[in-house]
Symmetry: C2
Subunit: 316 residues, 2 copies
């Protein structure tokens, strides 16, 4: 079981355990896929610069790829690389039929336009789902590649069997890679291709007055926060039994001098006393993001293989 009961309150949703389960499932599926004569899926990451957090993220993605049977490599570029040089790498990878998934680790240095980079990646290989075409398809409830973090939240809710149909959800944060697509998945129609979750969704953000944020949260069956502001969601804002999903990650000074620790947006120790379900930080949504990126890579590989196959038949 991916969750366990705490005597004095919320069930803790063990994101790491669920992510491990998803990776195990993927490993098996990819193994079968390769046994059927298919080439192993391949993921290429482009990392520009030497930001330590970005380096760690990319390293974790490469490790996860290895675990599930995805071949991966990272193109490491100095932070002086020009936008045009990066675009050239992307174009080459777009055309490379041995590459399935492509991602550029964000943020990119200031002299590079993020939109231009994301939109240069072929929509069919865009495993981060940041290309405007994938974003548009998501907004239209069409088949698309959904960004890994919102998809991780979706899977956490689904696998923990948290009801969403007709429920009140508050999404705090309107970022384009987390808040917005999460709100999209949650409010849309479950009968459409994208299998939305049919919730009533309230999008709160920096300009929502604190007393209104509290009011909306108090009426919520599910609170999803993705802000990066420790202590934002307090116990008095959470309805008894509500599900609290914490996507925020902030590094703060630890108990020992010189040490740091990661915390979310939720006052975990207090909120767990009233919530029905809660995700910890770390070990909640974080591991899910990596697992869903792998899931996206395998999906992309299968679609590309099918496309090539139909092209072969067409030219026969």
């Amino acid at each position: 079981m991916a969750e366990f009961e705490i005597s004095h309150g919320a069930k803790i949703i063990d994101g790491k355990a669920i992510a491990d389960k998803i990776k195990n499932e993927l490993k098996e599926k990819i193994s079968d896929y390769v046994a059927q004569g298919n080439r192993a899926p391949r993921l290429t990451a482009i990392l520009v610069g030497t930001d330590p957090a970005s380096q760690t993220y990319v390293k974790n993605k490469m490790l996860a790829a290895k675990t599930v049977g995805i071949i991966s490599n990272t193109i490491d570029l100095p932070d002086t690389t020009s936008q045009e040089e990066i675009l050239q790498y992307i174009r080459k990878l777009n055309e490379d039929t041995t590459v399935d998934g492509i991602l550029v680790q964000l943020p990119v240095p200031d002299h590079i336009d993020e939109h231009t980079i994301c939109n240069a990646i072929a929509p069919s290989k865009d495993v981060d789902g940041f290309n405007e075409i994938n974003v548009g398809r998501l907004a239209l409830d069409m088949k698309s590649i959904v960004p890994a973090t919102p998809l991780g939240v979706y899977e956490l809710l689904r696998r923990t069997e948290i009801p969403t149909f007709g429920k009140n959800v508050v999404v705090i944060g309107r970022s384009k890679n987390v808040g917005m697509p999460t709100a999209m998945l949650l409010h849309t129609d479950g009968r459409h291709v994208s299998k939305g979750m049919d919730a009533t969704v309230t999008i709160c953000h920096r300009n929502t007055p604190p007393e209104q944020l509290k009011k909306h949260c108090q009426n919520a069956d599910i609170i999803i926060t993705a802000v990066g502001k420790p202590g934002l969601v307090r116990r008095d804002m959470v309805k008894a039994g509500a599900c609290v999903i914490d996507i925020g990650i902030t590094r703060i000074p630890g108990a020992e001098p010189g040490k740091t620790k990661l915390v979310g947006d939720v006052d975990f120790e207090e909120v767990r006393k009233v919530a029905g379900h809660i995700t910890p930080v770390p070990g909640g949504v974080g591991p899910m993001t990596v697992a869903m990126l792998m899931s996206n890579t395998f999906m992309v590989a299968q679609t590309l293989a099918k496309t090539k196959l139909s092209t072969c038949f067409a030219s026969d």
Copy 2:
């Protein structure tokens, strides 16, 4: 003035007057634009089948175009036209440098896939803003072509000086051409290219339980409804002084036998007693839709002219 005081309650937002003002402004701008030596903007509509409502909509668009100085024409096709034939018309129009805006009147007959048609229109000529690339750009707060009805709501709010920053907005209805893009414009960041309205937005829909819809509406500073269900928004759901925007249009039997009339989603006579501002149906959002389509067509024409100009310079 585009609005006038009613002694016993809400100011009625006169959408027709505001739309006329916008069309007059456009007429002047287009006249100047042509006087500067530019070709007059041109809009082509494709109408498949003989649905009377669609025919009326297209006729109104063509009339508005004429009023503001946009050259327009309609390609009338029988409802037996195949998807491939329609795509051929679209491709021709995409390549025709004398055509600026292209629209296909929706709905199309059942044997035609709406997404395929909308995505075939060149994003730069897509005056309805239904192409997945324009939808994606809107969702990413990038420069895009915004569908005319949400853009009409945006302009109504802006020109009536209804505050939105940090306010609670309820959008009822999650359709892809009205509810979703309206929620997008309302909740996003005013500092971004798309100039969002920074409101806290709650998206309600068919699966929102009635008592929750009421609760959300009672807390709203602005209610925007786009459902097509007469009487959905009642007086007891509206906070005193709130702004109520009614996008719903339903044809119901009129007072005289055999006659019909158009009504919105709002119980207008009752809600106007408590609301601060209210749009009537007809004469509210409806006329704005046509005006904003003209505005989109002129914007598209200017952008295309600039692109051609820069292409000319580049090849010099």
